[in-house]
């Protein structure tokens, strides 16, 4: 069994109004020194078997084209074999 965690985040040059709203709320609720907040998505995918070779390549492609929008988002993929 394996777990793949895909974090999807707006590219740094793309404005993030949700993140900006969260930053404003954090400041209003007393948190000082907030310089930036970005809000993204996280997908946790549980799979049978091992993730390597062609299967890992397919997951990379799906993360880049299905789970994220390559025009405005970056993704980060992490494979955890045998998650607790």
């Amino acid at each position: 069994m394996a777990r793949v965690v895909v974090d999807v985040m707006l590219k740094p040059e793309i404005l993030d109004p949700q993140g900006r709203a969260v930053a404003g709320s954090l400041r209003r609720l007393g948190l000082t020194g907030v310089t930036d907040v970005r809000q993204g998505k996280q997908f946790i995918i549980d799979l049978d078997g091992v993730v390597e070779g062609a299967r890992l390549e397919l997951i990379e492609t799906l993360a880049a084209e299905l789970l994220s929008n390559p025009v405005i988002e970056d993704y980060k993929l992490q494979v955890i074999e045998d998650p607790a």
Copy 2:
């Protein structure tokens, strides 16, 4: 400078229709062995100074009550001092 990463995920006992839809798409696009997909949110908060003591406690409270909905969501908080 410090970075706080807050991952917010639906509690395991709460149905996740978005995750289920993603699981269906992954399977249709040829990924075998998918047993479960959960979709959550990720907040990346950049802050001046260090995160410890009362400030860390405030961030924990805000993560539990502003960034997540404690009725249906769990959160995971990670502090990264001096992110690259």
